[in-house]
């Protein structure tokens, strides 16, 4: 399957990078937290970079231009019974694949097989000199050269303009089901989460969140997927560890997780923060948030906290490393100082700091 465009915008984009002092890359702007515009920056949109470059289901490999909307990709893969196992976020809000990589936006389903970093095989980008650089490859296994694809994950547009991406894809589970288990306290909920995460049960997603209107109660959402005939057996087994207050199947299951990865629960908040954590940090974060009305969700088995909040200046001190994912640029919480390693890479790829 191949879709080729007649006009190649890349040479023009290279020229724009060469002639600009500051460049700001954007896709469809679904992640508003990343849009702190520098005055005088040239805005380069990936809008013209759309389409699947190549897709061979037999190889489990798909290559696409960075401005391609993920919803289109998901549909094309689904026709072949395949999917992006890192579970991209904000798909129904129009997220592009380039923005998803730059923002490192993996969803709850990354729990099973891994995040964007684990599925991105190859990348082409325009560096700060205006050169086109290719890194990685188009096969599922490759150890040649520096791993530029991984470097681009979470690069936030600061290392160059990503224009083409190659991913490993997997067969889509033919059936899903979700157990929602309710706990009246945090500790047993965490204990149950830990037990499940270490068990040999193959779990697709494992999210914990406070129950609205019911103080101190938490729901643990556990998703499994696979061959349809095995699901009911697996559900009964799962419930021995996590008694179900609700079981979601088919459409209901799909709607529940789609809402989670589109942040339907947080869309009215001023800011949505992303905190990479480990599950041990959850009580601490909860302690800080208990008396507030801030909505939050601990996703990927407690590896990431999403906090919908109004902006307060003491958040950074209290929460440590956090990133404004959705919200206004004035409320950006800076991550830690760039490392010597990161600075060296920035100097190499973008010596004039056009992107950085």
């Amino acid at each position: 399957m191949s879709l080729t465009t007649t006009y190649d915008p890349i040479p023009d984009m290279q020229e724009i990078v060469r002639q600009s002092t500051k460049v700001h890359v954007c896709g469809s702007r679904t992640k508003s937290g990343f849009h702190s515009l520098v005055e005088g920056a040239t805005i380069l949109s990936t809008h013209s970079l759309q389409g699947i470059v190549s897709y061979d289901p037999q190889e489990f490999v798909v290559t696409m231009l960075s401005g391609t909307q993920i919803s289109d990709v998901v549909a094309i893969l689904a026709k072949q019974g395949q999917y992006l196992p890192f579970d991209p976020l904000l798909v129904n809000r129009g997220a592009t694949i380039g923005g998803t990589v730059a923002a490192n936006a993996s969803g709850p389903g990354r729990f099973r097989f891994g995040g964007i970093r684990d599925f991105l095989l190859g990348v082409r980008f325009i560096d700060g000199r205006g050169n086109c650089i290719r890194g990685g490859g188009q096969v599922v296994k490759n150890a040649a050269g520096f791993d530029y694809p991984k470097l681009m994950v979470g690069s936030q547009g600061a290392l160059g303009l990503i224009y083409e991406l190659t991913f490993k894809v997997f067969p889509l589970p033919e059936s899903y089901a979700t157990v929602i288990s309710r706990f009246s306290e945090l500790d047993p909920a965490l204990a149950c989460m830990h037990q499940l995460a270490s068990s040999p049960m193959d779990i697709e997603a494992l999210d914990l969140f406070p129950v609205e209107q019911e103080e101190r109660c938490y729901d643990l959402a556990i998703r499994i997927g696979g061959i349809a005939t095995a699901i009911s057996n697996r559900l009964s087994r799962l419930q021995k560890i996590a008694p179900a207050s609700r079981i979601l199947q088919d459409h209901e299951d799909e709607i529940f997780w789609r809402a989670a990865s589109n942040f339907d629960w947080a869309c009215n908040a001023e800011t949505l923060l992303k905190l990479p954590i480990t599950s041990r940090a959850i009580p601490k974060v909860e302690n800080f948030l208990t008396d507030s009305q801030r909505n939050r969700r601990y996703s990927v088995g407690g590896n990431v906290a999403w906090i919908a909040t109004e902006w307060t200046a003491d958040l950074q001190a209290k929460l440590g490393m956090a990133q404004t994912f959705l919200g206004q640029s004035s409320t950006i919480i800076r991550s830690s100082e760039p490392s010597p390693f990161g600075q060296a890479i920035q100097r190499a790829l973008d010596p004039a700091l056009k992107f950085g």
Binding site: Q58, G81, V139, A144, D147, S198, A322, F341, I345, A348
Partner: protein, 500 residues
Amino acid sequence: MRGSPINPLQNNQTQGVSQMVSQFLSKLAQIYPSPRLLTHDAGLVPYESDGLTAFREKPIAVVLPETAEEVIRTVRCCFESNVPFVARGNGTSLSGGSLPVKNGIVISMNRMNRILRLDPVERLAVVEPGVINLNVTKAAEPYGLLYAPDPSSQTVCTIGGNVAFNSGGAHCLKYGMTSNHVLGLKVVLPDGSVDQLGGQSLESIQPDYVGMFVGSEGLFGIALEITLRLIPKPEVYRTVMCAYRSLKAAGDAVSRIIASGLLPGAMEIMDNLSIQAAEAAVHPGYPLDAAGLLIVELEGEASQVEAEFHRLLPLIHASNPYLVQEAKDTFERQQIWKGRKSAFSAVGRLSPDFIVQDGVVPRGRLGEALEEIHRLSEVHGIRVANVFHAGDGNLHPLILYDGKEPGALHRAELLASEIIELCIRFGGSITGEHGVGMEKRNYLPKMFQPNDMESMFQIRNEIDPRHIANPGKMLMDGEAPALTTSGLHPLEKAGVISRE
């Protein structure tokens, strides 16, 4: 941009050199007590070469640090004196990655072999670089966890080396390579500065510096502390071995399995020469008359795997094998894998010398690639054994020759280079898991464009402006030591390690 900065120890004035060497060595002596600072020939010889025995180079010294602090001081000392260094684990690199650099030192990491922390709740292990790969899984096993990357040398190879070369194994299609299992790194950069990359979470809000560091083949410095991700041990395995009258039929079976939507943990194919050799060496019970042997392994939660197995069997039978044998218990499963994992060293025993490659082709072109390798083997009159990770298109042709026969090495190298070029032509990679190292550095510029190469040099120059961190590996800019012989690694001869 690409020229090497001058290494003072490469100065031609002999007297000046020996003075500089002794000054440098006396600096090292301030860090290490004499038993851990090797400078005499007898102590240096074991470090002259690694798993790629074709190359040899004697370092001016070998140091044996026991703490991260000692490594940091050593690197700073090298930086101040402009002396190149290479960190080395157990020297199992098959691409010459840990080969000493001329007029440089070897920093041997073996003594830094502590598992600093194992956290079963967060499912991670913090280890020093000298920890042996299999020991991580051994430590994790009591908690029902394992460390997924399983290179065939896993009983000997170290995590530090795995990190430097992004090592693979038999389960990469489903689980990825080393890089996919490293969460955090404490590293010393070539200028002696220390950096913490990544952390303990699966998620991050920075560019993936950990991913960039892993697989950089020692060019970015040395990992001092490595945080690894552990995964729950699969509940059950279903392993099946199928014998075919042709290699192509085995390859077609893999295509059927992939097309069906199943995701096996491993799919391996061996050709007749490899089957014969493995059977002779470890008696796994392989059918000796098979032209192609396919091993498929499903793994995971019991009822799911059971359902998958019911789908797998008809697919296999439809692919026309003349023998299908399922492992009935753990022992039988281990036997099947023992044969597979010993295949290379077993084939190696058939020949005084050999060259092994690990190029990758798109899986759909495996059959074509094997036919082409077979044709090249006949054209050159050189035997080639094939064992490969069929699930991810990772070939491992083993090119057999006798170094004592005039011109044989040259012909074998010619064949090897034609196979690498075939992988590039087919849209694959020159290396799936062994890394570029010394061996394939001439081919990296064939796989990438000049701009891509230039960018890699720019990154290396910024991170290592003095070109002292494992120079000459991956990126061509140093002097290449002379090729001598190739063949079994001494540890392979002793039956201690085996290859992918």
